[in-house]
Symmetry: C5
Subunit: 379 residues, 5 copies
């Protein structure tokens, strides 16, 4: 459980020092220095530029081409404030964009649409059988002919296929507006949840076997961690689904009706992700029940072993104890005459064997021997 520190991010939201004025930006010490990339395209052409300052965006914003400004890394407050000025962001928007993590949501401003989303990706190098994921906040600011995306981390995203589709003019993306670009990126984010969930699905399957055939202390710990992770995923997905639903229902000019058809598809994906998360949550809850019953079964088998062995040998030990007594046979004919009987010892053994066989049969008919052999590790 040493990796807690890292995983805490699933659970907690950013919060301000008490009494902080609205609009205060909090730059974390280990935040990456930002990089600013611009992709500007029309149906016929597309260019890509690394920009030095947000100021450099201005000429592109004025043109009629579609501009995608991708800002990665939150480690430079003046640059972020500058970005806010260039795009005329409301102070609260800038705060939500910078002070990560925030809850996914959609907000409407005069001629801007702000979407806060959470991107989830499988952990790149996964050792062993465990599932896990990294996640970062992606904020969208959609204007009439531009899309600003702000990412929490440098160089970690799942947008490369979209960049390629623009570059190589695949599909219709270059012929569409900034709203279609926003949809495409949102849909890419939703698609990235599926492989993460697939990992958890496989982990749950391996836990199913473990829980029935070989339950250990680690098993319950792993189930608990899966449930905690799924809670975290659910907390990302649930508001994200509502945000997409808001986009579809609301009547802003920034999203054209033909793009809303596509957003409906994206909404369907969000619902499917939620479906799977809920199913997995219920499965892991059931797994805990099965685990408890498995542990009880194990204890049952331990007890049966003890009971069978004790119950057979304790009466026999009593009998051999009897004939170990030192009553003096010479004092009285009633004092342990068995000891001097010709067949005393063999008869004693015969009685003991009869008792042992009787008890063995009794336990065998109860099916307890079954458990003695069954409880060897089967797999």
């Amino acid at each position: 459980m040493a990796e807690h520190e890292d995983e805490r991010r699933h659970w907690d939201y950013h919060y301000d020092e008490i009494g902080t004025a609205p609009g205060t930006l909090v730059i974390e010490e280990d935040a990456s220095p930002p990089e600013l990339t611009l992709i500007d395209y029309t149906a016929s052409s597309a260019i890509r530029r690394e920009l030095k300052t947000p100021e450099d965006c201005k000429p592109f914003l004025k043109s009629h081409s579609i501009s995608w400004i991708d800002f990665q890394g939150l480690g430079n407050e003046p640059m972020l404030r500058h970005l806010g000025e260039v795009f005329k962001l409301h102070p609260l928007v800038l705060e939500d964009v910078v002070n990560v993590p925030q809850r996914p949501k959609v907000e409407y401003y005069d001629d801007q649409l702000v979407i806060i989303a959470r991107m989830v990706m499988p952990k790149p190098s996964e050792a062993g059988n465990e599932a896990g994921f990294i996640n970062e906040q992606v904020s969208f600011v959609l204007g009439p002919n531009y899309l600003l995306t702000v990412q929490e981390e440098l160089d970690i995203d799942c947008f490369d296929p979209v960049r390629n589709r623009i570059r190589f003019n695949q599909g219709t993306i270059r012929a569409q507006g900034a709203d279609y670009l926003a949809y495409t990126l949102l849909d890419t984010i939703m698609d990235a949840y599926f492989p993460v969930l697939e990992d958890y699905g496989e982990l749950i399957e391996s836990l199913e076997d473990e829980v029935i055939f070989n339950p250990t202390r680690q098993t319950v710990q792993r189930i608990y961690q899966v449930r905690r992770d799924l809670m975290g995923l659910r907390r990302s997905i649930w508001p994200q689904r509502n945000a997409i639903s808001t986009l579809i229902r609301d009547s802003s000019d920034l999203i054209r009706p033909e793009v809303k058809v596509y957003l409906q598809d994206c909404y369907d994906h969000a619902v499917q992700v939620l479906d799977i998360v809920e199913t997995y949550r219920e499965l892991t809850a059931n797994l805990m029940d099965v685990y408890l019953s498995s542990v009880s079964n194990r204890m049952n088998e331990v007890m049966k072993t003890l009971t069978v062995i004790s119950s057979i040998f304790i009466p026999l030990t009593f009998i051999v104890g009897v004939y170990g007594m030192n009553f003096n046979p010479q004092v009285s004919p009633w004092n342990m005459p068995e000891l001097d009987a010709y067949w005393g010892y063999p008869i004693c053994w015969a009685v003991m064997i009869a008792i042992a066989l009787g008890l063995t049969t009794y336990f065998w008919r109860k099916g307890w021997f079954e458990s003695l052999s069954r409880s060897l590790p089967e797999r």
Copy 2:
């Protein structure tokens, strides 16, 4: 649990590679090569044709007769794209139809109504007492006088009775429009859930007895699998019910009011299926409780057996141990004079029998012997 691979389909939805452009079709390697069957009928006649290409449908679509185009198998991308062109399907519709499984839903397009449904059927050859089901996606595209159905698999469906009703002009089906045909097929799909549920009902009943009279490790595994399967069924039925409800409420011209009366009946069936699934889910949750209590009861009986036998024999063994001591009676009159007493040995036995009887009575009054005999397998 080796059959997991197969059953995974209950849980998961189709998902695209991250960043796939909308409209991309994914053909699975083991998908069946498609077959295309057309049934074209009016009140007075009905014909059935195996068609080579979707192109061959065009003459029938133009006529006023009702055309049911049944496309089975998703193994041929060009043919599917061709189908999309012939029926003027929106790229997202074609994607939903081909990239199975999708969540059941209804969508309205200009003059088309798209229904994604999930068909469930009992597994054909069922060995032993287990329940199970196969399922496939059936997509409906309803136009003014045609119905296109696209099925995931070749030759596995429950539509033969409908085909016969058209062929032999049973009931009013030939006198009705394509909307009635769509209803009939949807209702047939809903009806097919009932025998699957009946299998689970019987399985749960057999588990009820097993759980009380003979709980084993396999029992808990079977309960878990039933709960997992019911979760899968619920995930199919719940959105399907909502889809039918959408059909009834929405005001499209494609479904006439008189057919909506029938759809209400179909909706009632969906509600009944959900009712049964929820009841079964609750019953299996209760069964887990009963199972846990049964395991505890069993352990109680094991412990009682051990306790009765140990408690009776341990004191007796102590007594015989006493008279096995070697204190020298010749040194002192206080050293074990019992050993030399005339009635020493019989009195010793008398005392032991008295103790044994006393303890036996005590345990008998506690009702513990009951458990010793009861715990033999009753049934």
Copy 3:
């Protein structure tokens, strides 16, 4: 659990063979042959006739008097079809009426109101302490001045008080319309749930005592059956409550406002029944918890008994074992000189008694002896 077959009816709904045409009637083999009774009344007079065929109703339907046609038994398909023609029932209505059981509901047709209800009555001869109920479907078809009721079984209903009120002109029933008659019968059906629930209330109370003072395997089985029965009752009542609520809210001419006031009362009764069912469900869920804790407590007492007896006698048995050793005292003064000591044997006993007393005190202070005596059956 041999009576399962019979009780399955609580759980399952009627379902058609896959692909059956809508309107198909399914006559079960053991269905009763129908009987048809007509009660026709005005404020001033009332007659009762046994009719041969539905055809015989026609003159009464035309008159202005109120006609209650009571059709009992579903064993004759032609007669049922005939009934459908006489009353001009929609094929789907006839199907719901005949193919029992259906989910309770209300449906509006042109000048008819169809109500499907479920009647529940205590089992007539109830042996022992168990609760149980019989139930059958009652369908109402309410027209302007007639009420058709179709019952699943012959001669099993709770309507006799209503028949008597009409016959003897008790209350205002003869002065009211067919809608009031429908309300009266519905309310009678709702009232009949209460004695059934009272039986379950008493059963739960007896289980409360059993679960704490004398939990056995049968207890858990009985709790499980009560929960299953309550689930069945809830499945009847929940849609029935909604159906009555629909009647109150909807704006059909067939039910006059002054009768809606009475229906509100009937709705209150349905809510009360649901309240009680939910309370009982929660109580039985709590009872399962109490049962599990009782079983654990019992095991605790068994373990304490074993532990007290073992812990006292095992050390003593060790001591007597020591002095049963055969080390030769003649070889060495260190070899068991105790055996030849003058006070050896009495001192040995003194030590053993001291140990036994010490341990007894220890366990007594832990309160474990309490459990040894307490675990005798208290009641």
Copy 4:
């Protein structure tokens, strides 16, 4: 559990014999003979009269002063019917008022507002630590300038402070209308729930300690009873809250807007009561979990005691048994030469002490001895 009979009232509602005509009044045998008190007041004066018959109210109803007619006890059917006539009550209203208990609710009639409420009070003489409550139905009929209250029992209510406020002209009550009086009484009823809940809060706190430090069979029984009582309280409060909410929202002339402000306060109290009941329900559910874990912990300690003592002495008993064997040392030098060794007996003791110390250390490091001492009753 002998007091069940009495407590059944929390759970059950009144129900009629099957088929009883609406409006039938059911007078219970032990119902109190009614008493009728009138309080008539204006801003300047207030009188109080014991009335003989409902007829005597008539002059007061005609005057412009506010009349509060308080009818206590339901033991006289003719008088109740007479009351119904004087106040022109709908037959169903009279039925709800008389056939107690009913579910709390609000109903509107032409110029009357009927409120059914449930009054709850702590049991007057409460022995020991238990909580409990008595409850009765209070029905309000609010007219333009009168308020009729009908109470189930004689002389048990919490209205005396209100009577005094009228008598001594405290606050503004005499200056207000009948609607304010109805609010005042309703609010008094809501206030009376708090001390009952306070009792349960204290009981739950005492159970918290008991469950952790001294769990017994009685504990689980008491938790169960608290949960059952809370269910009963919830069933009273939930519909009562809804009834008050209906009063606030509905647009009847009988309640003036300025009184609605006060009703909002009363509604807040109802919500607070529900809040507390729900919290207590959740706390007791948690307590059951804690109880189960406490019982398991206890059993763990019992098992540890047994295991420690058995595990230490059983090997030692084996060793002393070895040297109690009678192999003949004279036949062979290999036959138990230890018995004749000079240091045999001391070495044997040394070995045994070493084994005992070793095992004791092992168990001590496992922390099992801790449990041996800890399990003495701590408090």
Copy 5:
């Protein structure tokens, strides 16, 4: 659990003596004597005054500057009544403000907006690993150009940063109206929940480790207390969130649209707090499951220890008992000839060692030895 008295405040609401007239103020004996502070500011200036009586506020209320009147401590009824007169508070408002604790809510009066909120702060000096919080009620009365806040306790609040922002003219607060001030204080209250939750997050993490590696009785007690505290927090937050939502939706002139944008941000924080509380509640529920399984695992290990040691030594003890019997070998050649055999004793040992090894192997293959070593405290 001696600190209960103190913590009861989380659970309970203020309630009046039964029948108390509305508007009655209840001054608790230990309530602090009130202090009254006024902060009056415009964009250009800000003053702070300690006032003697509410009367002194009047000049400031008339001016156009924004006045924040902060009233701390509820120990002086005449002063509170005076305050009510100066600000023209409705009697019910004054009651809610004074009779703490009340449920958070928003209420609209003619030209005033009343907000009841609950402030939560970490306990100042926190010893050990425990979490905890203090909480008090803060009531807001918002008028056109003033804000009255009434706090339950003297000198305990989290408003100092806001006071400083006004004093040093940080941010835009001095340029805004009283509505912005109300928002700022509400937001500060919401922000103060986060560090409290952070404490609980850390406590839950430490419990996660404890529950798996070292579960004790105290663990379950601590889990129970965390769950109880979270229930208390939830009861504060839930209505507070609803109150903020009411502020945003309602159309009062007192809150300008530009401040509603900020309130939306505050609402987001409330939702995040609720999210975290719900997650923690679910985590602790899961922890209880894990705890129960840990206790079962522990018991399993205890039982395995007992079973391994008993099962190995009990058969051996039987064997040595056999050769301790005193059958007379001289009477018969069948009477224990082994005792006189040359290799008797060594063979006896060989057999016993073989049995011990066999059983050890058997248990080792079952993996039970693992548990013997593993159950030493790992961490």
